[in-house]
């Protein structure tokens, strides 16, 4: 990761520095300005690889790198990007006039404008994990303070070696007065390492170095020792029954003997089973209680609803509940009380259900009746429409008949029957008034 950070250096000439220097330093300086802390690491940070702790608003995200803005700039078309993202987008464009990556409006790099200060504040407020969190730094800092944290305070960031002739770096926490980059060889395992890594090697990694067990005085390699500590026969341990009252403690070898005779230790399995069962029952009781609460709530809801809707029913339910509430008092245990309450609630629920179904049936009857009436109406309307259609047909044919006849044969044959059906058929050349009379007589016939 360090290599990447330094690669990014050319793209980040001065990432967020003007802002960081302006207001972050005073806020963080009380952390301690020790002599080592003043040595700056001065590695430009790549803010894009950070892990964000706070969730951030989608509107604060650069559309190009999908990270919260880093040194945002704004184009004339009001689109905002990170400065680096925009300059990289511009370098991939060949044309002389650069175009906005979002809307292709023409602009050039010189025309960028600053974004409102509150946006900078919002992105600086975002809390991030220190980039060294993978090697042990647990700090979470505001992004605006990150450069200062890494440069001055993070004990895991690499700082230059104090020796003048050494160009290597060392984590700040290991920094001393002299160069720790000389090679040393572990006396025990012959592994070559840098002097700065010796501590960690001795603590964990060395495969040969031995240390003695404080209890049995035998020596083991470092890696085997922790394993041994869990099994050493001379270590003093407590009786298995200690958590149910046995105060005895002795060496591991003698413990088996004690536990054979210890009443508490032999009771342990039975006690454990009992406590397990008690836990289960407690959980079941909790569940029941919660269910009961829910039922009670819904029933009282319904009661209030019904009280508004139908007074007689509300009276009945009130009468039904009142004996129960007086009855509930004598119960000696909470479970009995709960059970009886549950029973009464169930009865009430049944009653409510039956009344609901009654109402339902009534409503559906009403709907059916209404439907029937509507259907009848509809049939009636249909009949009326049919009769009107017939009248219209008759009128049309009558009109056709009265037209001057280019093809008299066809018209007379087509209109013949309807003309004949009329009680007083008009003469072929009749004008409009007789036709009106005809239609009137047709309507009365229907």
């Amino acid at each position: 990761m360090d290599r990447v950070v330094s690669n990014q250096g050319s793209l980040h000439p001065n990432p967020g520095a003007e802002h960081v220097d302006a207001e972050a330093v005073p806020s963080i300086s009380p952390e301690g300005a020790s002599a080592t802390a003043t040595r700056r690491a001065n590695v430009p940070l790549d803010l894009r690889i950070l892990d964000y702790v706070t969730p951030f608003d989608r509107n604060l995200v650069c559309p190009i790198c999908h990270c919260p803005f880093i040194q945002p700039v704004r184009l004339d078309c009001d689109h905002t990007f990170c400065r680096d993202c925009l300059s990289r987008a511009f370098t991939t464009q060949t044309a002389d006039t650069k175009k906005c990556p979002s809307c292709r409006a023409s602009s050039s790099f010189g025309q960028t404008q600053t974004v409102p200060r509150f946006i900078i504040h919002m992105i600086d407020e975002l809390v991030v994990k220190c980039p060294k969190h993978d090697v042990g730094c647990a700090s979470q800092v505001r992004r605006g303070d990150l450069q200062v944290h890494v440069d001055l305070y993070c004990s895991y960031s690499e700082v230059p070696c104090p020796a003048v002739d050494c160009s290597l770096t060392i984590p700040r926490k290991d920094l001393g007065e002299r160069c720790l980059h000389s090679k040393v060889i572990c006396d025990s395992c012959d592994v070559e390492m840098l002097e700065k890594d010796v501590n960690e090697h001795n603590r964990k990694l060395c495969t040969k170095q031995t240390s003695t067990c404080p209890d049995c005085q035998e020596s083991f390699t470092k890696s085997a020792l922790s394993d041994h500590e869990r099994r050493c026969p001379q270590t003093t341990i407590r009786c298995l029954g200690s958590n149910i009252g046995c105060r005895h403690s002795t060496k591991r070898v003698d413990m088996a003997q004690h536990q054979n005779s210890c009443a508490l230790a032999s009771l342990l399995p039975a006690m454990k089973a009992m406590s397990d069962r008690m836990d289960q029952q407690g959980a079941a009781l909790d569940l029941l209680q919660r269910k009961n609460d829910i039922l009670e709530g819904s029933v009282s809801n319904m009661q209030s609803l019904l009280a508004n809707a139908a007074l007689p029913l509300a009276d009945a339910s009130a009468a039904a509940t009142s004996p129960h509430s007086t009855e509930a008092a004598p119960f000696d245990s909470a479970t009995h009380h709960l059970l009886s309450l549950h029973e009464s609630l169930r009865e009430e629920l049944d009653r409510v259900a039956s009344s609901i179904s009654e109402v339902d049936a009534r409503a559906s009857m009403m709907i059916i009746n209404e439907n029937l009436r509507l259907k009848e109406d509809l049939a009636h309307t249909n009949a009326v429409i049919g009769s009107m259609r017939m009248q219209l047909q008759w009128l049309t044919s009558a009109r056709l008949q009265t037209q001057p006849k280019p093809a008299p044969g066809a018209v007379t044959s087509g209109a013949g029957p309807s003309v004949r059906s009329g009680p007083s058929s008009p003469p072929p050349g009749a004008s409009q008034p007789p036709i009106r009379r005809l239609s009137d007589s047709e309507r009365t016939k229907l």
């Binding site: 990447v4 790549d46 690889i49 559309p63 790198c65 999908h66 680096d84 991939t92």
Partner: protein
Amino acid sequence: MGSSGGGKRIARELGECTNDPPEGIRVQLVDDADVYRWDITMDGPEQSPYAGGHFKLQLRLPTEYPFKPPTINFATKIYHPNVSNDDKGSMCLGMLRSDQWKPPNKIVAVLNMVRNILIEPNIDDAVETGVAEQYKNARDEFVKTAREWTAKYASGK
């Protein structure tokens, strides 16, 4: 992690695509160590002649992503005016063109566009002009052939 910013963005987009995939689209990496090559499985949209088919696509991201557009290839043969009928199955239209690509475009948008192209081919931008002619003038035949190809090449898993 050559350009860490781009890599981070790709990883983020991959997370979005795998956790909340667009309808009828499944996404995975060809090789877990390489975020620049994606394997896409796209179900033929119901309202298209490709319904019932499972089409494999390969999506490649250039190292300059998001400044250069991704490329899409149909690994499964498909009878479509906008997909070349050769072993590459390449498709190049709309936002996939480098002159029309915009860095803010996301891969999800690309995948949705491909799916929309399956539903409604873009005739004015066709690579297979014969298929495009058929789509325009003899839609029934086009639908028939597309169905046949779907059954033949894309019905398997």
